[in-house]
Symmetry: C2
Subunit: 180 residues, 2 copies
């Protein structure tokens, strides 16, 4: 007998009420939509003018943003399907796996948002001390689109932080310490 079966049998399992299931599905589908929007905006973002040419693939931070959003969109879709079709009671092992994967995706998306924000900060402001000019003076449209993509990534991050908090709160509020 595996641990999942044991959890179901000994009562350490959980029911999801319809409202919870709906809220979680909406959050996951919204994350998927925002991730795809952010990915597409950045993926199609390129500019070519008298100063040169630039695309997302020439900047490491934006390449990572595209990768992380692709990962997040895929996971959001799969986890939304899981939440919709999963039969109750759900074993603790499955809940814990979902919780851990949510955490990993949150970290990955947060990292994508912050490296892109740092890249954009430098691109908009430049830095006189290290003689880096403001690249956005020459590539304005590229920067604006990249900014929109980074903001969408931060929104995805907020949704995933909410999902992590919801799943941890569910455990904290519903489970009790075993009676001695």
């Amino acid at each position: 007998m595996d641990r999942t079966d044991q959890n179901v049998i000994d009562g350490s399992a959980l029911e999801l009420n319809p409202t919870e299931r709906t809220v979680e599905t909406v959050l996951r589908v919204a994350s998927m939509a925002l991730s795809i929007a952010s990915l597409v905006i950045m993926f199609k973002n390129s500019i070519s003018n008298d100063f040169g040419s630039l695309s997302y693939s020439t900047l490491g931070a934006f390449k990572y943003l595209v990768t992380a959003n692709g990962l997040c969109a895929t996971y959001s879709l799969l986890s939304a399907i899981f939440v919709i079709i999963i039969q109750c009671p759900i074993s603790k092992l499955r809940l814990w796996t979902l919780f851990l994967l949510d955490q990993v995706v949150t970290y990955a998306v947060l990292a994508a948002g912050t490296v892109s924000a740092e890249m954009l900060y430098l691109a908009y402001k430049g830095n006189l001390n290290i003689t880096w000019s403001s690249a956005c003076d020459y590539y304005g449209v590229f920067c604006h689109k990249a900014l929109v993509s980074a903001i969408l990534t931060f929104l995805v991050c907020i949704l995933y932080v909410s999902l992590s908090f919801i799943s941890s709160y569910r455990i904290f509020s519903r489970y009790e310490a075993p009676k001695q």
Copy 2:
């Protein structure tokens, strides 16, 4: 009667065994030590030569790294004291607060590590497309010290991810769904 008292009375509380208490204290004290080391290295990091002068305060990413490490060191100290002196049984409310604050610090430290890593990546490599030269060709010692500081910050992040996983696993492994 507040919720904390209720949790203790209804049995939804937790004992910490001595090994757990020791492991958690060691992780928190190690995080504090690494955060302080990272903060001090970055805080004292400055260079002045024929090309100009540079210090942590002239670069936004490194200013944020110093702030986040200061916050993390303070929280690590306070939470280590909390774990040492807290009397068992610990209420779920306190455990949840600790868990949530651990999460917030993990996010803050991860963000500090990633923005610094992006800054260093650009400083070492430069970017021809946007005519940014490799600043580390001129400020090598500054870059090396900043790299050490960023690596220490990532180590702190790994310790905090471990702390978050330990505290969530503790809940998942010890608590049971209430019998209907």
